[in-house]
Symmetry: C2
Subunit: 99 residues, 2 copies
């Protein structure tokens, strides 16, 4: 997710994971994150992330009639997610007992 030695990019990672489970809109993601974190991320936080993931070809808009865009993960996204997840687990593996 990061490229260099950085801890940044966790939000992108999390969003990609959510989308990988099922197609979601920007607002769906905000709601899910609200459930998990207890506070609702701003629109100005989420849409740029979606845009970036999109520009990297990891997700695509699923044009489904209405004005609500649903995003789905691409094969490239799947691969990236796998790598990122592996890295994530390597980093935090000592947390496994906490789950």
């Amino acid at each position: 997710m990061t490229g260099t030695c950085e801890m940044k990019g966790f939000l992108s990672f999390l969003v990609l994971r959510l989308i990988s489970k099922k197609a979601m809109s920007g607002d769906d993601i905000r709601s899910e994150l609200e459930k998990r974190k207890g506070c609702r991320p701003s629109a100005g936080t989420i849409y740029p992330v979606l845009k970036e993931l999109s520009s990297r070809g990891l997700i695509v808009e699923e044009k489904g009639g209405g004005r609500i865009k649903k995003y789905t993960i691409t094969p490239t996204g799947q691969k990236e997610l796998k790598v990122a997840t592996r890295k994530f687990v390597a980093m935090f593996y000592d947390l496994k007992d906490e789950f």
Copy 2:
């Protein structure tokens, strides 16, 4: 760890976890992170984190003779870590199968 709706602060969280396991020096932490991430975080990354954790009373220097400072977690740090870990798990609970 964060306070607001932010994803930032994962490095601090991780460092605090490492120290909670056993007393470590700045360089120990860099080495451990290198093992986990595959690249070595800069000194300019780690020491400011240590300083900040210290200033918040979550860790303390263990003055042990030599020039190598070891840090240990404080009771306050323990409590903070517990809270932060709970938040972390709530956020990423769907990753439990990946561990």
